[in-house]
Structures are given as C-alpha cells and as structure tokens.
Symmetry: C2
Subunit: 320 residues, 2 copies
C-alpha cells in the first residue's frame, strides 16, 4: 500500500447509533484501506468518519455508503448545532504519503461525477478541487444550509459542478474535495492567566500579523488548571510545528511563563513530526535518521516537543 490518503466523510446523523452503523458498514473490513473511526456527536447531530488507505479502493465502498445515507437520512427532519447541507455533508480526500494533492483532486472529481450520475445528487467541488473561486471555502458553499440551498442552487453562480440544479429532496447536496492535512496543535503554559495565552496567540496567528497558516486563540482547561495556546496549522510544510513551538516559548519568556507540554488533537501525518525532529537534531548536532520506526518517531517527538497523551497510533501511517 504505497499511496495513502485520509478520507473524512461527515454524515448528518449523530444520535441513532443503529442507523449510523448501517450507513458506515460498507466502509469496514475492506481491502486496500482501513476504517479508523466513527465519532458521533449528539449536539452537532453529525458523525465524523475517518478512513486511511488507497483512494482507488475507497470509491465503490464510499458509493454504497452514500447510497445508504440517501436511503435513511432525511434532512427535512434534522436539527443540530453544526451547519449542514447534505445527508453526507462533506467528503474530503487528504494526501498523506506517496500521493500528491493533484491525485486527490482527481479522485474527488471522479467520485463527485459518479454521485451525481448514479444518485441524482448535486455535487460541489471544494477546497483544492474547486473549479470556481467561490467554492474554495466550504462555509461559503454551505451558507443557507439545506433549507436555503433550495433557492440558492438556482442562482447561476451556485450551479453545482455535477448533477441537477435542484437539491435532492431528502439528501440535499454534497461537497466533495481535496485538501492538505490540518493539524490541531495545542501548547500548554504553566499559568492560569488566559490573557497571556491570548497575547501569545496574537503574536503567532495570521489574522493579527503572525504566521500565514496559523489560526490560534487562548483556552483555559478547567480540569487541568492551566491555559493553552490552541491552534490549527493549515499548512505544516510552510509553518512546521517546531517553528510555532519555539516562537511560543520565545514570547512566553516575557511573561516568565514556561511551556510545559503540547498536544495533538486527532491524527497527523508522519512528516509533520519528522520535519520538526530534524530541526531539533540539527540543533543538537545529532545525525538525522530518515528511516526511523514509528516508535522512534513517537519517542523523539515526545522528547523534543513535550507531547503529552501521545502514542504511535496518532501517526496516520502507523495505523496501516
């Protein structure tokens, strides 16, 4: 298995576990890719599913999965906190290793065309797969949600990329796309002062002049009794973890606050860690070994970046 993508479909059902299990069943025990998790959220009334493996092998099982969602979810009777426009709301392909974003765009376009042809569902290509600038940003497409899309889709600028120019009566419509991995990274500070976390977040985030691919803010962890700088890294090649961590340490110094540890939420590609391990080993004058085992990568990442609650299965490729 040399080409690995992460595929993260989201379905608009987060309460009825029997229904969820029926819909996701075609994605389990398949050749060529692995079913990693299904995470239902009752408040969101939404389930996030994670698959890892060869995108070619995912296509037909995903088609069956979408068909089961079409049969069983009716958005006319759906209310949840998370915005949604489709029974399967969004279907992104994310390159992890041995594959480029261009191939992910290819598979997104391929399955998008099939969904429209076989199920009469309008399909919007989004993110890197977008063919029009107004479709790069998913919330722009989804604005108005299931209810509003009934009229919105009739506008020339919101004509779907594939399928009819009218929503499916119960399914709605779907966004299919390709995007680079997003890393959810939090840095723990040994203080309870949220203002300090906020000042540091402002120093590093794009919206207030910081690094281009960083979204960041403060968070107080009540159960743990300390604050975090909580962030998304939208492009880890251009804004590597070590650079953000070291910049946070540098800013924290003026408040006489220490970085205690850091944490990854969800999974991340191996390269996010090895890129940063390489920095620390260069600084230390240690020869960098590009053929480390997943366990070695895990140990070094914990040592150099103080990762807590981390194990090798947080590395996407280690799950295969």
């Amino acid at each position: 298995m040399s080409r690995i993508v992460q595929c993260v479909p989201n379905i608009s059902e987060g309460k009825d576990l029997d229904k969820i299990n029926y819909i996701i069943e075609p994605l389990k025990n398949q050749q060529g890719f692995k079913f990693i998790s299904a995470e239902p959220d009752q408040n969101y009334h939404r389930t996030v599913i994670t698959l890892i493996g060869d995108p070619e092998e995912m296509i037909e099982p995903l088609m069956t999965f979408i068909n089961r969602a079409r049969e069983t979810i009716d958005l006319n009777h759906h209310q949840g906190e998370h915005p949604r426009m489709g029974a399967v709301d969004v279907l992104p392909f994310i390159p992890i290793s041995g594959i480029q974003i261009e191939e992910c765009i290819h598979y997104a376009t391929l399955i998008g065309e099939k969904i429209a042809a076989q199920y009469d569902i309008p399909v919007f290509l989004y993110a890197k797969a977008a063919k029009q600038p107004n479709r790069i940003n998913l919330p722009d497409i989804r604005k108005g949600e299931f209810e509003g899309m009934k009229e919105k889709i009739k506008e020339e600028q919101w004509k779907p990329d594939f399928g009819p120019q009218a929503i499916h009566p119960t399914f709605g419509c779907i966004a299919v796309g390709a995007r680079i991995p997003l890393i959810a990274y939090n840095i723990d500070l040994d203080t309870q002062d949220e203002k300090i976390a906020n000042s540091i977040a402002k120093a590093i985030r794009q919206s207030s002049g910081g690094f281009q691919y960083i979204q960041a803010g403060p968070a107080y962890l009540e159960d743990k009794g300390f604050v975090q700088v909580t962030m998304n890294i939208l492009d880890f090649k251009k804004n590597p973890m070590y650079r953000i961590l070291e910049t946070v340490k540098m800013e924290a110094k003026r408040y006489h606050v220490n970085v205690m540890s850091s944490e990854i939420v969800g999974l991340l590609p191996k390269d996010t860690l090895t890129d940063s391990i390489k920095y620390y080993e260069q600084v230390l004058g240690i020869a960098y070994n590009k053929d480390m085992t997943f366990q070695e990568i895990t140990n070094k990442a914990i040592t150099y970046m103080g990762l807590r609650d981390f194990d090798i299965y947080k590395i996407i490729e280690a799950n295969l």
Copy 2:
C-alpha cells in the same frame, strides 16, 4: 511640538544640484518642522527629501516647493531608472508620534485638494489615503508613467481624486498619501553561505508562509564577507523587531550559525526600538522605564539587538 510626522516627497530631478537646491529651499529653516535631508540619485534622476515635524506647518512650504518643481522640471525631457509620473512624484505623510494615521490622511487630502485647485495638477490619493481600491498600491497608479498617463487618466477608473482629467503638460500628476512607517532591517549572520540566509528568509517572510508584514531575502555583503537576512518590516506594531530577530536566531541554530549583529537602514520611529527593548527587559526581569532618553534607548537597542553603525540620529524624534 507634540504631533510628529515624517514627510518624504520625491522629486524627479537627481542631477542638477542648483535646481534641486532652488526647489527645496522653501522647506528649510521653517518653524514647526525640520528639514532632515535631500538625497539625490543620478541614476534614478530623482531626489528623496525627508521632513519631520508638525504636518500643519508643512502645508504652505510644501505648496511653494511644489510650485518651484512645476516651474523648473519638465518631464518631457526626463529619463531615469526610477518610474515616475510627476515632477513631484509622490508625497506621503507618515505618523511618528502623537498623531494617528487618520490625521495623516486628513493632511494628505487637504494638500491634495490645494495642489489641484492652485496649480491645475491632477492628484491621486494613495495608500491609506486612497478612496478607491485600485489606488492603494502606488505602482498600480503610476503604471505607464508620465508618458502613459496622458491616455490612462482619461479612463473612468483612473479619473484623479482632485484636479483635471488630463495631466499637466510639464509636471504630469502627483500621488499624495498617508502610510505607516516601513523599517528597513538587516540581520548579519556569521557565514558566507547565501543559501542559509535564503532558507531563514523563507521561514520568516509573508510570501512563503511567514510573518504577515515581513518582506525578506538573502544578501551577501562582499566588502564585509558575510551574509544578511535583509528585510522590510511593513508594520512594526504587528511584527516587532525583537520577534523577527529571535525567530531568525532560532532558525539559524539548525545551521550552527550565529547572529552577529543587525542594522537599520534609514531612520525609524522611537517606538520601534522601545517596543523591543521592553520585550528584552521583561525577559531579563528589569523594570522597563518608559521615559528613557534617546541616548539610553540607543544604548539599550545596541546592547539587546546588536545594532551596528547606529546612533541616536537614526531615531526620527531625536532629530527635533
């Protein structure tokens, strides 16, 4: 003198010193502001003039200065390497202390209106003073230069903000605006390897994912035998000097290269230095004194940031 701006008119004459002296003479020995320098460049065929002080007091002397440029410079007989569209090509007001950008926009608009009314010269409001998005960026306005503006100004989208919709036959037209100070800052590395300076520049500059208000690249100083990361800081409040310097040091560590010193090209407002001195004193646990003398600021900036070839007269406010 509580409100201080820097005003930097550029005239399209860089060779004839008698003519330059005649044009700039009304700007010298005035009440309320100080004539700092006139820097003619023969290749550019252009002179950059620097004034510092109260913008209110600058208006009438600037009007006389513009009138003298109108009498003596004919752009039909002007060739130089620097693009130009007017005898006085550009007139920016830059807030330094005790004044906000809004007031600078006010004075730019005021003198722009007077120039058009008294001398029949078309005026474009640019940068923060722009009233149309196509006029924020000076090169967009000036594209086509004196020769091309004859036709371009007739287009609806290039109708001047004040004055006739036709260039002045010898003066051309002028851009008047307000902008925040730009800091030209270079950091010296103890290596001759330009690739290292380039890698570090890529890590910090906006165009490759770094800090939002940083333009940076590598430079080899042949006479000195080392490389620099050379940069413009476009907004020193959002990207303070200390943050850039410390990030450069952090990146340099992986190459086992040291930051030896740094340098400021041109003048800079006091706050650019005190903002960074404050960071270093907080880190060191030294009580920050907000009422330092210019000499103290200079000494501390040299100590903390390794500034070379620096003296108090590089601080704009120290010249008054």
